[in-house]
Symmetry: C2
Subunit: 374 residues, 2 copies
Amino acid sequence: MAETTTATTPEAPDVPEGGVPEREVVDPAAWTCPAPLRDHPTVVLGHGGGGALSAELMEHLFVPAYGNPTLAGLGDSATVTLGGARLAFSTDSYVVRPLFFPGGCIGDLAVNGTVNDLAMSGAQPAYLSCGFILEEGVELSVVGQVAQAVGAAAEAAGVTVATGDTKVVEAGHGDGVYLNTSGIGLIPDGVDIRPQRAVPGDVVIVSGPIGLHGIAVLSLREGLEFGAGELASDTAPLNGLVAAMLGVTRDVHVLRDPTRGGVAATLNEIASASGTGVVLTERDLPVPEAVANACGFLGLDPLYVANEGRLVAVVPRAEADAVLAALRAHPHGRGAAVIGECVAEHPGTVVARTAFGGTRVVDLPLGEQLPRIC
Amino acid sequence: MAETTTATTPEAPDVPEGGVPEREVVDPAAWTCPAPLRDHPTVVLGHGGGGALSAELMEHLFVPAYGNPTLAGLGDSATVTLGGARLAFSTDSYVVRPLFFPGGCIGDLAVNGTVNDLAMSGAQPAYLSCGFILEEGVELSVVGQVAQAVGAAAEAAGVTVATGDTKVVEAGHGDGVYLNTSGIGLIPDGVDIRPQRAVPGDVVIVSGPIGLHGIAVLSLREGLEFGAGELASDTAPLNGLVAAMLGVTRDVHVLRDPTRGGVAATLNEIASASGTGVVLTERDLPVPEAVANACGFLGLDPLYVANEGRLVAVVPRAEADAVLAALRAHPHGRGAAVIGECVAEHPGTVVARTAFGGTRVVDLPLGEQLPRIC
């Protein structure tokens, strides 16, 4: 498909002898609400970035095609009922490059990612599927290392890999290993955690330092060094952390793991789904020095960098101290901090109070600053 | 990874100045039972073929890594219990080339494939996930057509696409669209359908003509023509057919859809899991003339060619007539036929009575005759 990469600079259409420009048989302009997609007649990397382009693809292409408005819900997983059981169901594909990075590899990333998507609905993750797309010629020892990482991460998270599948594509048509994990978990009675539940007055908490995964992968890929010792992915299963929070209160309004698009994308989705405003205090953001240095050097904003072992919690102010204490008592939540609040002003918009006393709007990113970090 | 394509003819290892050959840090020879894998230090296309190489990868690499012996069960889906509900859970990735072929495309193939894997345990498929790995530069109209096919196939099968994910890889690292579908369904009370349940005396039924999907895709890909009008993929959802069978008897022993590796691989897996012998009668196999012509021309055996809308049923002899009638009364089962029986002789082995009165052993294929047909 390399021949069709003229995503943003399409050539003028051929004009046949009759003088009428040739047209595609399938015309994106005929889709439900074509405007945003018409600007991008071909897929660009940003469509996989978890930002505005991803959201447009979902809204204007997938939801109309599937005829399922509930798919448009912005949760990390779907809530479905089957045989009387209320289940969370989620899927994610992983195309991270390189396959191995400080702090993890595509295998534990894929397990933790789906475990976390399930946990963000309050579910207890139970069973995972694992589908490999292997590239012909990749060493079996590499596949073995990835599979071992899948197994170890599943054991650490307390979930079972119940079913799997392996396909192989010809050399040159992949990147060694692509991985898909899907998962199901049971949502406890009385738990109702979803982005729509944020209300003015709620407190916004993040469970630890942000930006580590994205910067760790980028640094390795581009051969950059920013305080090497500190820079390892934060990939971790968050179901234990969620259980700890639910142990002190069932009244958690929203949980999300800020992966692609970072904390900025997550907060924008919460603001948009709930119709509340969100105000961040920049100086309260737990940004590790190595991440801050790397972001400064590269012109990135840590709010937009992916995390793989952090969660954002929106809780009633009355529960905030108890939730914060529960988070900090858990190994994956030691660095938890209050970073902002939900407000009635500027509904749907995220604003940051800067270190200099001003404010700035924190937009939904268009695509992603760092492609292929998960 | 194009540089590591020396799958079957690896170059001699570099010998550093010290004179000792370099060795991998991770040594496949150290795995649980390394013998079969040591012959294939890198991934070959056959590892994705659903035959002996796939089985070795499962047995010697994935099962030890995941530490989950139940994964080794040969069913198309896992049976798990969650919140008191008995569920089937399955996953499959799809890398078919080309994306569109007579009778379908990667979108409906992916929906029907997972619907069928769930249905083969007797489950009523309910919810699917759909994960896209898109290649930068692929036209959005192509993605839209695939998504429309996903939606239409889900509607036809009576399932809901509940959750999804989209990743994008750089141009040259994919084939336009790779797709993963996972699914969950509810297994009715009193239904116990699995390969281990075949017993001598059971009758083997196939629900219709075999070999159409594999030959249709191959013909298109290679530009061959064999009675073009007839050659379209059989891709179809089989949950309705399974419901029709269960409507006449709950005592169905085994159901499998003979996809990769064809009817031969499916029957070998049933024979191996149950420890019965299987005897086929070649002249009873419903092989369409166009498939027979193509197989003759290409030196293929229709028993090994993939199907995407057929099932193999193993049922007690007393139920065979009723099951056959129920199949034939359904649009997807009109061509159903008895093709063989389970016997006490040659346990674990599949034998075919040839048209000339002899017999031949029908082996588990090593890899796949036709790579990337699903």
